[in-house]
């Protein structure tokens, strides 16, 4: 259901496997997040993501359980890269399957919100000026404040 992987993975193959498994669902939504070649700070040659097991996995599993409680999804798949990755490589893949198009969209959207704002990952970008850890901007703090004490948001 959830995986952390420290090597490149193929979102298209993952969608193929997921679709085969969810062939009765009717509606399948996927999200693929890729390393962008430029960030706020300028060009990025390498992105490093660090997890802290088992907190990272526990948080992801809790988010998936919340999604399953809120929406009638018949299958869900989350893959997240850790370690070093190059521009264009997939960082994250989320797929949801449901009999209902809206449920599949909303559950995928919810999981991506979790993964982008609350999931337990630290991010380091390497560019021409060297490497820097990236932390949330001021406007992200309000969202982020929820993660420690709330199991269901």
């Amino acid at each position: 259901m959830i995986s952390l992987v420290n090597h490149p993975f193929d979102p298209a193959e993952t969608l193929r496997d997921f679709t085969a498994e969810a062939s009765d669902a009717g509606a399948i939504v996927s999200f693929t997040g890729q390393v962008r070649p430029t960030a706020k700070s300028g060009p990025v040659s390498c992105l490093h993501l660090q997890a802290y097991s088992p907190l990272t996995e526990n948080g992801m599993r809790a988010a998936v359980e919340t999604a399953r409680r809120r929406w009638p999804i018949s299958a869900v798949r989350v893959i997240h890269r850790i370690g070093d990755m190059a521009p264009g490589e997939a960082i994250v893949f989320v797929a949801t399957a449901s009999a209902h198009r809206r449920a599949a969209f909303e559950a995928a959207d919810f999981l991506m919100d979790y993964l982008k704002t609350e999931a337990v990952f630290w991010k380091k970008e390497t560019g021409p000026a060297g490497a820097a850890w990236i932390e949330p901007r001021a406007e992200d703090y309000e969202d982020r404040a929820r993660w420690a004490l709330s199991g269901d948001n």
């Binding site: 704002t117 380091k124 850890w133 901007r137 992200d140």
Partner: protein
Amino acid sequence: MARLHFLGRLVDVTGHPSETVDLPAALTDTSSLRQWLDDRGAQDGAFLDPTVRVAINDELVIEPAAIANSDEIAFLPPVGGG
């Protein structure tokens, strides 16, 4: 012996991702541990930053929280950057 983990930018601050350390008996909670770590390495308040959260034995804690010399203690800067 306690096991300490330093995540995100704290890896750069300490120069290593984790260490095994015999905690002085005077360190009974996360508050005194933070001060001790900061003083020990002259780390300019990196461990006193309230946005750095603490997990003990794989659970996030509300601070100050009691610590034992056998705990696994992780220091977690804010997550979910940009």
